[in-house]
């Protein structure tokens, strides 16, 4: 599994959505599952998948499927 597949998998499994839902409009609070609880579950899933630990500021900044890619790049994840 490459990093993009791992990244997508974390969203699909955490929020119970399909690959078709992964696009620019997928943002924090844009779907019911991505609320504050879902947010921390997503963070945990991504941290597990990439063996990283996000800073709190990055957790707050992690606002969408698209911008999240840039956040993880800060932790050395290459997409």
């Amino acid at each position: 599994m490459n990093n993009r597949e791992k990244y997508d998998g974390a969203f699909i499994e955490t929020f119970g959505i399909s690959a078709a839902d992964l696009n620019d409009s997928l943002q924090y609070q844009s779907i019911k599952a991505w609320d504050s609880v879902g947010h921390m579950a997503l963070v945990a899933a991504l941290e597990g998948a990439f063996d990283i630990m996000l800073e709190m500021d990055d957790i707050v900044d992690f606002g969408s499927y698209t911008t999240g890619l840039k956040t993880l790049e800060k932790y050395g994840v290459v997409f």
């Binding site: 609070q29 609320d35 504050s36 609880v37 921390m40 945990a44 941290e47 630990m53 800073e55 709190m56 500021d57 957790i59 707050v60 900044d61 606002g63």
Partner: protein, 345 residues
């Protein structure tokens, strides 16, 4: 950074508050009308002159300074008599709240995230109709979690096995315990005592909030609370906080010397409940809170229904300069709000 209760407070804060008053007057018609009528149009030269809203205004009126399309989240605080505060957030203010909370939390503890033991039932966060303020606080503070477990079962009894398994699984790591003051006391500490079960949470810190009213009614002081928490859980670092849904993020955090300090970018003064005159440090009256992050709704200067007094922040040995607030309780005539008191055993 206030020297006395009646001075201007920090100059930066006063500038921010004046800017927010102008912003909200332009962006929220109802607020502008109210402020112009009651306070006039002049710029405040001290905290005492900053126009304020009574917190209950958010129950009666839709007060927002953003377009409907920009409403990102509406936070509510349920009252037992049915009136509900509605706080309108856009993305910017929501993020500022989280950033402020991170600033205050990391100033008291550290920038790390911790295994989090919530002294509540899982049902509290899944059944949102019942415990909106408790749910919001638990989920808000979960920002500091790395793994989360609930200490109570659905009947609000301690699940000792689950808690001990959590302690074992996280041995060697500092655990962040979070709960509402009354729930921590009644459903955790008192139950452990009744069962004669001592937990090994020596490597942990406890943060609790939501009000002392029920404990004060039972004559339980902060000192006794801390002593009993330590006796039955081993936790030595016990901190209270004071905050409200109308100023989420901007909380008063108890320092290691037992004082609740205003955070940077916030302050507190006391007003006489009859005349609304500002009172000096030490005198009891209504608590008015200030915060500089409320852009989407006019909540930067609020007269609460809580009673207490202030002390000079510099008088505390912890080194934090923020004004100290001592909470005595809720104003007698005020509507009793739900919050953590919504659950009765």
């Amino acid at each position: 950074m206030t020297d006395t209760a009646s001075d201007g407070g920090s100059v930066d804060l006063l500038c921010d508050l004046n800017r927010l008053t102008v912003h909200h007057k332009a962006a929220c018609r109802l607020y502008g009308y109210y402020i112009d009528t009651l306070f006039g149009d002049r710029e405040a030269t001290s905290l005492a002159e900053v126009p304020y809203l009574p917190v209950r205004a958010f129950k009666t009126f839709e007060l927002k300074s953003i377009a409907d399309a920009d409403v990102f989240k509406i936070m509510t605080s349920s009252g037992t008599t049915g009136a509900v505060s509605r706080i309108y957030l856009d993305k910017e203010t929501s993020k500022l709240q989280s950033q402020k909370l991170i600033e205050v939390f990391s100033n008291a503890f550290s920038r790390s995230r911790f295994p989090m033991l919530v002294i509540d039932g899982q049902g509290t966060v899944t059944d949102r109709r019942q415990f909106s303020a408790r749910t919001a606080a638990i989920n808000g503070f979960s920002l500091f979690s790395r793994g989360r477990e609930f200490a109570l079962n659905d009947l609000f009894a301690v699940d000792v096995e689950r808690v001990q398994a959590f302690v074992e699984a996280n041995r060697g790591q500092r655990i962040f315990i979070f709960g509402f003051t009354f729930v921590v006391w009644q459903n955790f500490v008192a139950q452990l005592k009744r069962m004669n079960v001592r937990l090994d949470l020596s490597n942990s810190f406890l943060l609790h909030g939501g009000g002392w009213k029920k404990l004060a009614d039972q004559n339980i002081s902060n000192e006794r609370f801390k002593a009993e928490v330590q006796e039955w859980t081993g936790c030595k670092d016990v901190r209270n906080y004071y905050g409200m849904v109308e100023q989420t993020g901007t909380i008063f955090m108890e320092c290691e010397h037992g004082n609740l300090h205003a955070a940077v970018g916030s302050d507190v003064i006391i007003r006489d409940p009859a005349t609304f005159a500002v009172l000096p440090h030490g005198a009891e009256g209504l608590i008015q809170v200030f915060s500089n992050i409320q852009k989407s709704y006019p909540g930067h200067s609020l007269l609460t229904e809580d009673v207490g007094h202030t002390l000079d922040g510099e008088s505390c040995a912890c080194g934090r300069k923020g004004t100290i607030v001592k909470i005595a309780g809720r104003l007698k005539k005020a509507e009793i709000r739900g919050c953590s008191d919504a659950y009765n055993s």
